[in-house]
Amino acid sequence: MGSIRRGVFRSVRKTTLYIVVAGIAMALIFPMFFLFTFSLMSDYESYSEWPKPLLPRIKVEFRLTPIESVDGSYKMEIWNNSEKGFTPFGPEENTRANKSLRKLSNFIRNYSNCFISEKELSEIMDSVDQNGAETFILKKKVFNNYTRFFTLYSGAAQSVLNSLATAAMTVFLSLSIGGLAGYAFARYIFKGKNVLKLSVLFVRMFPPVAIALPMVIILGKIGLYDKPVGLSLIYSVNQVSLSIWITASVFMGIPESLEEASQVFGASKIGAFFRITLPLAVPGLAACAMYSFIYSWNEVINALILTQFNPTFPVVVYRSLLGANAQVHLIAAGSVAQALPAIIFTLFIRKYILQMWGGVKV
């Protein structure tokens, strides 16, 4: 009997554990999930329906009815999920006049993310004339918010390029300078090594905002203000020191005798580094690259201060939040677009990072 009780106890404990873990996972994932769902909603879904659905609609139902009192005019209605019925949508009266048709088509596109041409609208009106009120279903263009974000906030596309350039340069600078310095710290003994190592860390102790103003002046003087290069230089100051610490420990973990062996067996000192040490350090360097990329991609405050007409993407998203015409569903789309590259980049080098944490051995 004891063994059964023990078994029950064990499964109860296991179940509790799973529930707790699932709860934590939900708490972490749900906001991201909601943001993503939100980014797929149309204006109408965002502002006229409550509660918000967990999944966005893919199809939208409309109804067109003739207005009895005025001949040749129609009323457009849309299905509202919270009221469980059709509600008026668009101009009060729609006629077959070209101007009116275009107005209705644009309205449907802007507020429900559905596309219908003027010709199709007039065909529906034809059948309404014959059969009375008609309901019809349109497919929603799910990713329309993203297109709209980039058209509505001018310069968003250019700012993505700016961001990419900044991030690429930051990664390059922090890996090359930081990696070489890390190698020196790992392999060579020299005077003042520990002081230097600590002073490298010292740089990170200043909050970036505190030194932003002098940076504006310095960058302005050397002509790099409002340019991705200048921004990446500022980011590198921070990231190089982090890279030094990461890569130094990575290189320390690679036995020097591996390099020495390759020197004995025919490689030069530089050849030994490139053939032996560098390939073995790739996981660590990848982790380093990830930190630099994510930092530079997400950074807002410095970018806000150090750019004006050539902002980075986070700055654009930030400005969209502040704007008078703030539209929540569009900002959600911008936010997701902002998060995506970092996620993709992390997934891309996931293998190496797992390797560094001992997941897979070479």
Binding site: L258, A261, G266
Partner: protein
């Protein structure tokens, strides 16, 4: 003409500490030399200087008549087996062994046949496509060995290659290494701190202490004609026992006088010791001969008995010092038993008390 000449090479660290001071040695063709010494004696430093991994502060290294003192490691025609194997984890066994050959731009058919030849020699012929991470320590050691053999070096260096293996594997590898050496006839230098390893493998042993050579000789030389107290105490298990004795003349005979015993010397030894008053007497454990009648030169009581199979190590306490002797196993001895020994007078070692050098 020697293959390798070390001319007064020295290494100084940080302009203060001497790692190796003034070492000169000639290594003959096909010879198997072992550098032996306690840790920190400079044997590995010396080997690394020969390999070019360490700069020499002074002196010159000449390999086959060519001064290689300032050449980078890759131009020396030397190969090396490292203590921690130092095989590259991101390459397959094949690539590890072929590394040097590829850098030399040999044709790929030649590389393939050479890799297979050495891999078979060290018995890893079936594992060429594996990665080192999938192999045991012993197998990794064989990869390191194969890699070093593949380049057909002028000189083959081994830096404590067996010290990371377990005791049983170490003895097996010892035999295999010696067999490989006999087959390839590569001039070899082997560094170890294990004197039994040195004794069993070396043509000549170079015993080092504090960065200097103490004695160079065959295993028999260093064992039976140890140059000083350090060598006599370092070679052999258990090590040599030492007694401080007075040299006295009694009735025309030379007598070694100790608080616990008196030993009468023969004519030859007496001549060697003429002029000395105090010396250090060294007696190897197996040179104590059990006297069953109980009236031998040295009388004492058994302190500890350590059975070893064919023989047993019997420890005595003489004048506060532990003396270890080897006794055949057929005598059953227990702690506290009275015991008496004679000395094997042919193999006594005499050392100068001041200089600690052998009196010959």
């Amino acid at each position: 003409m020697p293959v390798l000449e070390l001319k007064d090479i020295a290494k100084q660290y940080n302009k203060r500490v001497w790692g190796v001071q003034g070492m000169s040695l000639d290594v003959e063709d096909k010879e198997f030399i072992v550098f032996l010494g306690p840790s920190g004696c400079g044997k590995t430093t010396c080997m690394r200087m020969i390999a070019g991994l360490e700069e020499t502060t002074r002196g010159s290294i000449i390999l086959q008549g060519k001064d290689i003192t300032d050449l980078p490691p890759r131009d020396r025609g030397i190969s090396m087996v490292f203590q921690n194997y130092a095989i590259w984890p991101h390459m397959t066994v094949y690539d590890n062994i072929a590394f040097a050959l590829k850098l030399k731009k040999l044709p790929s058919s030649e590389i393939k046949s050479r890799v297979e030849e050495v891999a078979d020699m060290v018995k890893i012929g079936t594992m060429l496509s594996r990665f080192p991470g999938q192999m045991s320590g012993g197998q990794q050691q064989r990869v390191a060995l194969a890699r070093a053999l593949a380049v057909r070096p002028k000189l083959f260096l081994m830096d404590e290659p067996l010290s990371n293996l377990d005791a049983k594997l170490r003895v097996i590898m010892r035999t295999e290494l010696k067999a490989i050496h006999q087959r390839t006839e590569a001039t070899s230098i082997f560094v170890t701190h294990d004197q039994s390893e040195a004794m069993s493998m070396a043509d000549r042993i170079v015993i080092m202490k504090d960065g200097e050579i103490v004695q160079v000789g065959t295993p028999e030389d260093v064992y039976f004609r140890s140059a000083d107290i350090f060598v006599a105490g370092f070679i052999g298990t258990p090590p040599t026992n030492f007694f401080y004795v007075d040299v006295k003349k009694e009735n025309g005979c030379t007598i070694l006088d100790h608080e616990f015993f008196k030993a009468e010397l023969g004519k030859e030894d007496s001549d060697r010791l003429s002029g000395y008053e105090e010396i250090v007497l060294g007696v190897r454990p197996e040179d104590f001969i059990l006297n069953k009648e109980g009236n031998g030169i040295l009388k004492s009581q058994v302190l500890v008995v350590e059975p070893q199979g064919a023989h047993q190590v019997v420890a005595l306490e003489v004048e506060g010092n532990i003396i270890k002797t080897l006794v055949p196993s057929d005598h059953s001895l227990r702690p506290g038993d009275n015991i008496s020994f004679d000395f094997d007078m042919r193999h006594l070692h005499f050392f100068d008390k001041q200089t600690e050098k052998r009196i010959s």
